[in-house]
Amino acid sequence: LAPWLPVVGLEIHAQISSNSKLFSGSQVQFSAPPNSVVSFFDASLPGTLPVLNRRCVEAAVMTGLALNCSINKKSLFDRKHYFYADLPAGYQITQQRVPIAVNGSLSYSLCIDNKMSQMVTKTVRIKQIQLEQDSGKSLHDDTRSQTLVDLNRAGVGLMEVVMEPDMCCGEEAAAAVRELQLILQTLGSSQAVMAEGQLRVDANVSVHHPGEPYGVRTEVKNINSMRFLAKAVDYEIQRQIEELENGGTILNETRAFDSKLGCTVPMRDKEGKQDYRFMPEPNLPPLILYDAKSLPANMNHQQVVNIDWIHERLPDLPSVKRAKLVEQYGILPEHSFTLLNEDGLTEFFENVVKQTQMKPKKVIGWILKDLLSYLKQHSLTVKESPVSPFLLADLLNLLEKKQISSTAAKQVLTELWKGEGKTPLEIVKEKKLELIQDQQELEQICQAVIDGQENEVIMMVLG
């Protein structure tokens, strides 16, 4: 049986973190009362025009730079036409011909065979990043055979990040998206919380035999979490392989992931190839960006987006933060991944290190094994930890000074989780966990043990 090569590409929509929408001054607000943060433009009332939000442009430039893209100094807006109840204008303003950023790359890491100790770095090419409007939300009421439409989300700024089909499975797709999520959160260009719809992923999946042309691809939508992303992609790969091995064919269709059943199903309302009748957005001139060289002398500062200015102010990206942690604290690369993966964990670790004499290389073990596993067991975030960095540092100092053994330290930690407000030293005294340092006292104890077990001692001496 010839092997199958799965091919996975992704289209990721990230909601831009801004106060107001892409082309109007209504608020970007999750969970607002229905239709309360909607302007006349968002509702597509006649006589309204789009006015571009500078913050959204800056967010897209930041993201493009962080993903090693070329920023197009001139980009254009287009209309993409289709009919749907949550798209009042009947078209979406997007950037189809010339988007704001192109040709970038994203590096991400995977554990081989689920072992944290063996990490491999992969790269996925970024085809482009484009600015576009989000649509409103449709709530389907099947019992009354109607759809309820809320336009609060209509017009919110999105960055669509298109990843080339360089990935081969669910695990790679999830790892790439996770890294993108961390980058967006670090930049602040998007909060990228999947649960709030700020990060949405569509996967393009196909399979083929090595050496043969790519197979027909399907688009998988409705993936609502990182977990489901890997599942949906892997299910679709399997489905296509089985279909082809049974002599069937793959249709170029759009499928939805059903999280309850764990499978993909064809989507209704998406039959046949869509003709979006792309046309230039007649109400918006080209978007011109500047750099230090091309900056015009007498232009209003507020009207200028300077790519170099933004570049200089980019924060350390996750990959750089990890490298710095490894260098500064002598921890392993895989440790740095875990530190960055948990919100607030790096800060916690660094705070403990500052307050203890124990070497960071040893502290990390306590953070990743003891602290983190406890938090996970009780579904707590780092911020909700009953043990503060101060308390943990205090405990680790007792251990470093050899006042207690490491076993005793673990016992104290178990007590500290209860969050009863006792200090490590108080618990040590309470439970009499101090290490005995006095040589004479130790000899007395050993002698007492030997005296109490005379027969066993004689047996041992006789061999």
Partner: protein, 108 residues
């Protein structure tokens, strides 16, 4: 080039226009002929203009909240509403196929 029934049907589906009668189609054909005159100009090596606004500056707005909060007014336009949601049919209602709808395009 003649505009075929297939193209007219396709346009009616996509844009939900109704050519209504052959006069409408004639008007379309005349418009295409008019636009075809563009082919008489040699545009080799010329960057296409796609907007008369190309010399204008695209105005950038500050990221301030200046509008919204007009639910009542917006819902005045709703034929039907449920608790401040607009009500729409359950899905797109596609234009019936050529054979199945009452159109002058049939039997051509």
């Amino acid at each position: 080039p003649q505009v075929t029934v297939e193209v007219l049907d396709h346009l009616e589906h996509l844009a939900l226009v109704d050519f209504r009668d052959w006069e409408g189609v004639e008007r379309l054909q005349k418009a295409i002929q008019f636009a075809d005159q563009l082919h008489e100009v040699n545009t080799d090596g010329v960057e296409p203009m796609d907007s008369v606004l190309e010399d204008r500056c695209l105005y950038l707005r500050e990221d301030d909240v200046t509008e919204g909060n007009c639910t009542k007014e917006l819902l005045k336009n709703a034929k039907e509403k449920v608790e401040e949601y607009f009500v729409a049919p359950p899905g797109n209602i596609p234009l019936p196929k050529l054979e199945e709808r009452d159109t002058f395009l049939q039997g051509s």
